[in-house]
């Protein structure tokens, strides 16, 4: 059995170490390069810097424009043939929320939620808040992309944006999210996270946080790798990250695997969510604001019944309707967009007119318009416009 023989000199080893150090240096320097150059859409660029002083996940006072943005699922699954290229302009205000045009008036409503409300995949003038503004002829503030959604956050937000008396806080409930409940910390808000935040908080915040979070060099190299894994030279290993199905009209549609699986929330989740929203409604009423909940279905719930193959799991309509019923019973105004979206999806199929992007988790401008129309219609029906709760001015 052989072992190593001795050899003098060190220049070979030094050259290897230098290459390693060069790689580290390149990685370090690349972190000073903007994501704008390597990103495929706005979200990653806009969330790179997250000042701890804001409630938003976006960098304040920032504009990103991409004339050939495409969907998160197409990127995640490296599915170039399904990309739907579109222009995406994303502008944030001083609070870090996506409000491109400064409005002189106090907002009559604020939309609060995640990427759906923020308008991921849409341009500034296509967000839910902008569509509602257009329909109502009044200022609706977009607070999508809120860092953590708690009663305190909603309260602070209403105060920060100076919501009109009698104004409405529109809260998103997205199907995939764990239903809220009283006394339960928001997702990700654990003791471990709190300790982690306390220790690493200063590092994670603002510029340094964005610098640490990810490396444009890695993103660039991953993009090159994706180009090689094109299904011809090499199999596409990213393909397993998404579920690709054909619609009955033959068009491919991408789904997020977690949307495809039916979440197993406990049976009392709707009742507990209703208690939570009741509590939030009372809190808002104290500041003369109203609550309105919007139930947003996943893409799979909307398109699951329109697939060419029989789906493995049934869409989750029943749970969302239970949630809606629980909220109605609790006296919480709610719009469940599920049926509206499903119907529009069915009717638009022959025209290849979709309500969600085919390459993205989120709704497209058609879907947002539908949502805005239903919300506005229900507001009018419920008399939520113009009158404040409890007789306040």
């Amino acid at each position: 059995m052989k072992t190593l023989a001795r050899m003098d000199g060190s220049w070979f080893g030094i050259s290897i170490v230098l290459v390693g150090l060069f790689g580290l240096l390149a990685d370090t320097l690349s972190r000073f390069v903007s994501y704008d150059r390597v990103g495929f859409r706005a979200w990653e660029t806009m969330t790179r810097v997250q000042p701890s002083s804001t409630l938003s996940v976006f960098e304040p006072k920032r504009t990103y424009v991409n004339d050939a943005a495409y969907g998160d699922l197409a990127a995640l699954g490296n599915m170039r043939d399904v990309r739907v290229l579109r222009r995406e302009a994303f502008t944030t205000d001083s609070l870090g929320f996506r409000n491109a045009v400064p409005e002189g008036s106090r907002p009559v409503a604020v939309t609060i939620g995640t990427s759906f409300i923020a308008g991921s995949g849409l341009s500034d003038d296509e967000t839910l808040a902008r569509r509602l503004s257009a329909l109502l002829g009044d200022h609706v503030y977009n607070a999508g992309g809120v860092r953590t959604l708690t009663e305190q956050t909603v309260d602070t937000l209403c105060e920060s944006i100076d919501l009109k008396n009698g104004g409405t806080a529109v809260i998103e409930y997205f199907e995939r999210a764990e239903p809220p409940a009283l006394g339960k910390p928001p997702a990700g808000d654990t003791l471990g996270r709190a300790v982690f935040d306390r220790i690493l908080g200063p590092l994670r915040s603002a510029e340094l946080g964005g610098w640490l979070r990810s490396s444009p060099l890695r993103i660039f190299l991953a993009t090159q790798r994706k180009a090689i894994e094109n299904g011809i030279l090499l199999p596409n290993s990213y393909g397993r990250n998404v579920i690709r199905k054909d619609l009955v009209n033959g068009d491919p549609m991408l789904f997020f695997p977690e949307d495809y699986a039916r979440p197993g929330w406990p049976a009392d989740a709707p009742r507990r969510a209703a208690e939570y929203f009741q509590s939030l409604r009372s809190r808002l009423a104290k500041r003369h604001a109203r609550l309105f909940v919007v139930i947003i279905p996943t893409k799979y719930t909307v398109y699951g019944s329109l697939l060419r193959e029989t789906a493995d799991t049934a869409p989750n309509v029943e749970f969302l309707e239970q949630m809606q019923a629980a909220l109605v019973d609790a006296g919480v105004p709610v719009a469940n967009l599920t049926r509206t979206m499903q119907q529009a999806a069915r009717e638009g199929l022959a025209r290849r007119d979709y309500v969600y992007w085919r390459d993205d988790t989120h709704w497209n401008p058609t879907g947002v318009s539908l949502a805005a129309a239903q919300i506005a219609l229900q507001w009018r029906g419920l008399g939520l416009l113009g009158n404040s709760p409890g007789g306040a001015p």
Binding site: R6, G9, S10, F12, I16, L24, A222, R225, L234
Partner: protein, 460 residues
């Protein structure tokens, strides 16, 4: 933590290296190497560090016992039996308990008297097969008086937990590294610096550039193995032969290189196995540290060539198969190689008269067929793949078949037609240095571009 990961390359290795060479005394270096080993191991699952520490303590105490009771044979035997039984019990529980119960259930069902047995969900501690072998070999060699057990606890613990060979070998016996450990405070830092890096870069390139690229084609292809044609299945299995060789020998080269950077000479584990012209020669070249352990600790004690040679061969190879994993496929792989060895011994005179190139090609085909059992996750999968290999079958094309074919030709040419890492002298001219530095840069870029993939032998 993987050798082919950024935390290892930019975090663990520089710290382990710089601190090691800052320390002066042997005991400090033993302690530091032990700490490094436990940090390296704990990065996977810190809970199993206790298991390794326990195994280390038991074997160390057994060694002390043998020193203490040098003249008392019965007590010496006790010092042999206790740690060996303890280690085998741990290995048996963590690695084979679930498999054994499942096999009992399967066999009783087959016999028409199904037995209800509990299902165990035991997590297999990574590398347990390797460090168990280290401790057992130490105790057995001490008992046989091949080595003198060490009184230095930290020397022994750093031997067991040495990060460069901890989770996937080579299985370094104490006697092979004892001299370097004893000399650890006097070793010259620059002595193996070039060779260390040369081995490491070559091993990294074997893994990241060659093995992982091949795996990226054959893993999805084997995901639908029932649909593969005869040509495709041969291409895929030859690809797997390349993958496993470059993956495992790449890891071994990295281990040798890393050991060298710390002044420790890790022995050769692969000696161009695909150049073998017969089964016996293959096992002298493939996973040398395992095959020599099997020879010294199983085959020879069973009687070796002196009596019941064929029975001993089969038992040894069955055990070697089972060592790789708790699955009937590994046992079948061991049995297959046992059969090859026996057949070769029976037909040796005629076989050796054949042209060398023919014997080498035939041996390679035999090995590829054996890999079917090794790669399959079940015997039925192995049977299907073998049927597709030997019965002409149509099927769907393999995505990336062109790349795979090119990679297979390239890697087999390297494996069969070039010197291995222990045969080259690692004295590089400036152009070759530039070439190897470029290879290292490409490997780094590949590591940067994706999540690092584990080595195949980690599962054992």
């Amino acid at each position: 933590m993987l050798f082919n990961s950024l935390p290892f390359l930019y975090g663990f290795l520089p710290i382990a290296y710089l601190v090691f060479w800052r320390l002066r005394s042997a005991s400090q270096r033993y302690v530091w190497l032990t700490i490094s080993g436990y940090v390296f191991y704990g990065a996977w699952d810190y809970r199993f560090c206790a298991l390794m520490a326990f195994s280390t303590c038991v074997s160390y105490l057994a060694g002390l016992g043998m020193l203490l009771w040098d003249a008392n044979e019965s007590r010496r035997r006790l010092c042999l039996v206790v740690p060996v039984v303890t280690d085998l019990a741990l290995l048996g529980f963590f690695k084979y308990a679930g498999f054994t119960l499942e096999s009992v259930r399967w066999l009783t069902t087959l016999a028409g008297h199904p037995l209800r047995v509990p299902t165990l969900n035991i997590i297999l501690p990574i590398g347990i097969s390797f460090y168990t072998f280290h401790t057992i070999s130490y105790v057995v060699d001490s008992y046989r008086r091949v080595i003198v057990p060490t009184r230095k606890f930290w020397e022994f613990s750093c031997y067991v937990s040495l990060f460069c060979q901890l989770v996937a070998g080579p299985i370094v016996r104490f006697r092979q590294i004892e001299a370097d450990l004893n000399n650890i405070e006097r070793v010259d830092r620059r002595a193996y610096w070039n060779r260390g890096w040369s081995f490491f870069v070559m091993g990294l390139a074997k893994k990241v550039i060659l093995a992982d690229t091949i795996a990226s084609v054959i893993d999805p292809a084997l995901g639908h193995y029932r649909g593969l044609s005869t040509v495709s299945v041969w291409l895929v299995m030859i690809g797997y032969a390349s993958q496993i060789y470059f993956d495992f020998s790449g890891y071994s080269d990295m281990a040798v290189g890393l050991g060298a950077l710390f002044g420790l000479r890790i022995p050769q584990n692969f000696n161009s196995p695909y150049k073998a012209t017969d089964p016996s020669s293959f096992w002298q070249r493939w996973h040398i540290s395992l095959s020599t352990c099997m020879r010294d600790y199983v085959y020879i004690p069973l009687g070796g060539n002196r009596r019941s040679e064929y029975r001993n061969l089969v038992l040894t190879m069955l055990l070697a198969g089972a060592w790789h994993g708790a699955n009937w496929t590994f046992i079948a792989w061991g049995a297959y190689h046992g059969a090859l060895l026996i057949t070769y011994r029976l037909a040796r005179k005629r076989w050796d008269t054949l042209p060398e190139s023919l014997r080498r090609a035939a041996m390679f085909i035999f090995v590829v067929v054996g890999w079917v059992f090794f790669r399959a996750t079940s015997l039925s999968m192995a049977a299907t793949i073998l049927r597709h290999m030997f019965v002409p079958t149509d099927g769907v094309p393999v995505v990336g078949a062109g790349t795979l074919a090119a990679m297979v030709l390239f890697t087999i040419a390297i494996a069969m037609g070039t010197k291995n890492t222990f045969e080259i002298d690692h004295r590089w001219s400036p152009p070759m240095t530039a070439a190897l530095a470029s290879v290292f840069a490409v490997s780094l870029a590949l590591i940067y571009s994706t999540n690092s993939s584990p080595f195949l032998y980690f599962q054992f």
